[in-house]
């Protein structure tokens, strides 16, 4: 059924520049904040400066009297005290899920939580008046440390739960029957002189997604349907969840995600502010707009990562791994996000990675603290898992005196062993770790750099060289609905698509996967052009508006191509089947004699034929069509994958460390990814580059720091140090020439949105430690700042140095010393 045009004319595989770029790059598009219906009023949120406190009084009078103010509202004023935001992932039946209110009423549970809102005629008036709302607090003890939080006698974030533990989720391969018991593996290794047991603790620091466009929502209550524009990754989920949360009938709600400027998981939630724009628009009968400031975003938008990982690996002294035991503490923050509790659980299936661990167990305890919520952040659970396993494989190599790449090769699944069912029961359909690794080692000059490393060590060079390895895989294409069901996830994982064949031969494609910067419009157009044999330019991709695209499960988890793209293929197949029937009728031939190629339906063995555009017109005119069909080629499809897809790759980093200052210089970064068949190499390269930057940023640059009172101390981009292009080298990226195409979908694609982020963090940290290992350094916490590296070297030398403070502010004190909760520096 698939078009078999001349391969040189195929769109798939072409490095097309993106259709979206002209409007996005020139800023001539509409983001949510650019939408201002007539009469719009503006919302500003008054947020708690304290992490944990009882609200003892709210004085709204000065704010209410301020110019332009329509009203100042608390949860009680709005009658929404009983409204709770949804958590869609009860990971265990007894998961403790405190209700997250739209606005705190009695107690605030994290710094940045909303307590009241101001509605005013202009943004500036709303912002000015918000400063005039006086809230009195009685401070409570903050809960900041996960281990302390679950110790007996800890201060409770939510006393009514009687614990700070939300849930403990266990996967035991022995019990599940997918592998051996890890307890037995550890006992056996301990008893065996030819085996070793290695334990390490890794810290996944808290990160902030830091998307480019701040979050924003506009609600217009006029019209039969209430319209909610939102800077969201999940317009469809937002519509359903707004119904669940506020009781607005789903049919009375239209959600539009216009162009959205990045998300990285950070726009996957259902926000109190989004719900408040709906509540207030209904109450006041006027459009309401909310757009956060960057400081609000850093403070109150959900954060990512934040895990303590205790890892035990067992192995034979010949290097063969025999077991992996994973214990996690995952910081949920003060409440559970929409899918927050499931994020660490997504990692459960990835700690075993590409290796043939015969025994495995995963235990994760989700913990409440008085910090901002955590939820999905690019990779969601899988970067954490990949980091831990790739770090401990390096540790094992050191312990056994082996080359770290050799040790990996010894333990990974060989290409001839696919399909391979792993210790967690997932079946990796395809893969070729040898191919990607060989190519990467050659591009990197692994042997040459190892020689240089040896030279520098021997010469005691002040600049030492480290080589960091990460041979990662990931599960993407979230996800088979039945698998999600078995994990108690609150939705399926299918995706919907429709194709409309217009009378004039143009094609409209509707997808439920709404992009927020990925380039769906371009990649999906390429797929449809090949499927239907129409010009790329004739395909229009429509998305992100529930009136246009009523059905979808949105964009996250590298699912757009592997799930959404396949739904489009399925819809195209139905279009072709209908067109074939119509062609047979018009050409007075048997349907079996109709051949489809390059957009033309021809009668086999003749020169008679109809182009797909002619058939679309014939269906529109409907003057002559078969009795047993409707006069339309338009088709819908819903695709639910049967398996995840498993991209993989080998990432290598050459790290130079200035041992005198601790400065880390990423000299060279090579990655070779096998992401299956590639639709658009340019988009792939962009995704990999951006992903690398984000993963490298975790390793070297980013961390959300809280002081001992639970105040986020780096709540501006002055202090929250995102790297720019100037901080990173030019990456050497490649995809393998002969990819192990996914067998789980007809395009053989796997997904690439998260690969760079998942793979790169351990490559960098492994490289940092490799550069310093001979000096006695065994660990450097992330981010590996120059100060941390310098202190690690001093510690290894036995030189005592002072503690690194985290509760003070960075240089550039003129800006850097801003406390976002108390920017004026006022004392209590």
């Amino acid at each position: 059924m698939t078009a078999t045009a001349d391969p040189t004319t195929l769109e798939i595989g072409k490095a097309r520049t993106r259709k979206e770029d002209a409007r996005l790059i020139t800023g001539r598009t509409k983001y949510t904040d650019s939408i201002t219906p007539h009469g719009t009023l503006h919302l500003s949120v008054v947020r708690s400066p304290l992490a944990h406190a009882t609200i003892t009084g709210i004085d709204k009078s000065a704010a209410e009297a301020a110019p332009g103010v329509i009203g100042v509202y608390t949860a009680a004023d709005l009658g929404v005290e009983a409204v709770g935001l949804p958590c869609a992932w009860p990971i265990t039946p007894d998961q403790k899920a405190p209700q997250r209110p739209l606005l705190a009423s009695k107690t605030v549970h994290f710094a940045g939580e909303g307590v009241a809102v101001v509605v005013a005629r202009t943004v500036a008036e709303a912002r000015d008046a918000a400063d005039l709302v006086e809230i009195d607090y009685d401070p409570l003890e903050p809960v900041l440390d996960m281990e302390a939080a679950i110790a007996p006698g800890a201060t409770l974030v939510h006393p009514e739960l009687e614990t700070n533990e939300s849930a403990t989720w266990v996967f035991d391969a022995g019990a599940a029957g997918t592998g051996g018991s890890v307890d037995e593996a550890i006992a056996a290794a301990e008893a065996d002189p030819d085996s070793i047991v290695l334990k390490r603790r890794f810290i996944q620091q808290r990160l902030i997604p830091a998307f480019m466009e701040p979050r924003s929502a506009v609600c217009d209550p006029s019209g039969e349907q209430i319209t909610l524009w939102a800077a969201t990754q999940v317009p469809h989920i937002l519509r359903t969840m707004t119904t669940v949360t506020l009781g607005v009938p789903e049919s009375k709600l239209r959600v539009i995600a216009p162009d959205v400027g990045g998300g990285f998981g950070g726009k996957i939630g259902v926000l109190p502010e989004e719900m408040l724009t709906v509540v207030l628009a209904q109450k006041l009968g006027k459009p309401i707009k909310w757009t956060e400031t960057r400081s609000e975003s850093l403070l109150a938008a959900h954060h990512g990562r934040d895990q303590i990982q205790d890892i035990t690996i067992t192995a034979k002294k010949d290097g063969t791994v025999t077991g992996l035991d994973v214990h996690l503490l995952a910081d949920m923050g003060a409440y559970l996000g929409l899918v927050g509790p499931g994020v660490p659980i997504l990692g459960a299936f990835m700690f075993n990675a590409i290796y043939k661990f015969p025994a495995y167990k995963f235990t994760c305890t989700n913990v409440f603290t008085t910090k901002t919520l955590t939820d999905a952040y690019r990779g969601a659970g899988r970067p954490e898992a990949t980091f831990a396993v790739e770090r401990i494989m390096d540790e094992l190599a050191v312990e056994l005196g082996r080359d770290p790449m050799e040790l990996r090769q010894q333990n990974w699944i060989k290409h001839e062993e696919f399909p391979f069912t792993t210790v967690v029961g997932l079946t990796y359909d395809t893969g070729n770790y040898e191919q990607a690794t060989d190519q990467a080692m050659e591009m990197f000059d692994y042997a040459g750099l190892r020689r240089e490393q040896e030279e520098r060590r021997k010469n005691n060079d002040p600049v030492q060289l480290g080589i960091g390895i990460s041979t990662f895989t990931e599960m993407c294409g979230l996800a088979p609905s039945r698998v999600l069901g078995s994990l108690a996830y609150g939705a399926g994982g299918w995706e919907a698509a429709s194709i409309r064949m217009l009378a004039t031969g143009k094609v409209e494609v509707i997808t439920g996967a709404s992009a927020h910067g990925q380039g769906h419009e371009t990649a999906f157009s390429q797929i449809v052009a090949d499927q239907l044999g129409v010009p790329f330019e004739d395909v229009e991709i429509l998305h992100g508006d529930t009136q246009i695209s009523p059905k979808g499960l949105d964009t996250y988890g590298s699912r757009s191509l592997a799930v959404g793209g396949i739904a489009i293929v399925k819809a195209a197949e139905k279009v072709i089947a209908k067109a074939k029937k119509l062609a047979a009728h018009l050409l007075e031939a048997s349907e079996d004699d109709i051949e489809f190629s390059g957009g033309n339906f021809t009668v086999r063995g003749t020169d008679k034929g109809k182009a797909i555009q002619e058939l679309a017109f014939a269906a529109f005119m409907a003057h002559d069509y078969p009795e047993d069909m409707e006069p339309s080629l338009d088709s819908d499809a819903v695709y639910d994958p049967e398996n995840f897809s498993y991209p993989h790759g080998t990432h290598l980093a050459a790290i130079e460390i200035d041992t005198e200052t601790g400065h880390v210089n990423l000299r060279k970064y090579v990655c070779v990814d096998d992401i299956g068949n590639v639709v658009n190499p340019l988009i792939v390269e962009g995704q990999v580059h951006g992903g690398l930057a984000q993963g490298i940023a975790q390793a070297l640059f980013e961390e959300a720091n809280y002081d001992d009172q639970g105040t986020l101390v780096n709540g501006t981009f002055v202090d929250y140090t995102l790297p720019s292009a100037a901080d990173l080298p030019s990456f050497d990226t490649a995809t393998v020439p002969n990819p192990a195409a996914a067998t789980s979908n007809p395009l053989g694609v796997k997904g690439v949105g998260e690969a760079g982020t998942i793979a790169s963090t351990p490559a960098i940290v492994n490289g940092v430690i490799d550069a310093l290992r001979h000096l006695g350094v065994t660990n450097v916490e992330m981010p590996c700042t120059s100060q941390r590296v310098w202190r690690a070297i001093q510690d290894a030398k036995g030189n005592a140095t002072q503690e690194t403070p985290i509760d003070t502010h960075s240089p550039g004190a003129g800006l850097g010393s801003i406390d976002p909760n108390n920017p004026q520096g006022e004392t209590e």
Binding site: L722, P811, L815
Partner: protein, 283 residues
């Protein structure tokens, strides 16, 4: 982010600016490019009643030669300084340090006078002005006066500028033929200096005959590393001698501690970076 409400005036002359400043009183703020003031306003760290924008005063811009001095108008943007031939020839250290400030966009807006008057000890140009013994010309209602850089920097964000006064010119003595280098260490490429060292040295026949060393972000003001200078003069420009002299870099400093660098690390950096800066300047 939206700043608090303020009035805005854009005088066309220094005299008008001084008048506006006097009328504005305590809450008036001068906008001299905006590198720091604009973010401070946007974050509502300051809520001035009136902003006096010096951007319309032509007489405050430009670079000229005045005998033994290079004179730079306070409102001359970084970009112009970096590219100016007189600066490159006679005050190369200033061009080198200025080129490290922030990013390209900011370098087109931010000004030398604005940076010095803001007196952020993490700012790069204070150490240069101090090390090079610049003179700062200050205009007020009663005329103008000149103070040395040493007297100009008083404390954290505090200078010798009095109420109703405006910095108009910065006069740098010529350091023609001196070697110079600005060694900057920061967390990300465009961040403030965690520590930086400004060095100009005169080398005659392999011997350092004169040295000027200034430190960024090692105290509440820019700091002159007099101990290093004294240790350098008369020494050969060899790596060992320079490293020994650099050990004096922390004398007289009061290194701050913050999340990027606690004081002990900063002190260590000051020594290492001083050695590197002098070596580069003398090389």
């Amino acid at each position: 982010m939206i700043p608090s409400k303020f009035d805005y005036v854009k005088p066309a002359s220094v005299a008008d600016a001084i008048t506006a400043l006097q009328q504005g009183g305590d809450d008036a703020k001068i906008l001299a490019g905006g590198q720091s003031l604009i973010p401070v306003l946007r974050l509502r760290l300051a809520a001035p009643s009136v902003i006096i924008d010096l951007g319309g005063i032509a007489e405050l811009r430009g670079i000229r030669e005045d005998g033994d001095h290079i004179v730079i108008g306070a409102m001359t943007p970084y970009h112009d300084i970096i590219r100016d031939d007189l600066v490159k020839q006679h005050v190369a250290l200033l061009a080198q340090a200025t080129a490290t400030v922030a990013d390209n966009q900011v370098r087109h807006r931010g000004t030398l006078g604005g940076s010095l008057a803001h007196a952020d000890p993490a700012g790069d140009l204070g150490a240069v002005a101090l090390a090079l013994e610049a003179e700062l010309v200050i205009a007020g209602a009663s005329g103008s006066r000149t103070v040395t850089a040493k007297d100009f920097f008083v404390d954290y964000f505090t200078t010798a500028l009095g109420e109703g006064e405006i910095l108009t010119e910065i006069r740098f003595p010529k350091y023609t033929g001196w070697g110079s280098h600005y060694e900057k260490f920061n967390r990300t490429a465009q961040a403030w200096s965690m520590c930086a060292v400004a060095v100009a040295v005169k080398v005659d026949g392999g011997t350092i005959s004169e040295a000027r060393v200034g430190l960024t972000n090692m105290g509440t003001t820019p700091i002159r590393a007099a101990g290093v200078e004294a240790a350098l003069v008369g020494q050969s420009a060899s790596a060992d001698a320079i490293r020994a002299a650099a050990e004096h870099a922390t004398e007289g400093t009061a290194a701050p501690s913050d999340a990027d660098a606690a004081a002990d690390y900063r002190e260590h950096l000051a020594k290492v970076l001083t050695g590197r800066a002098v070596l580069a300047a003398a090389g």
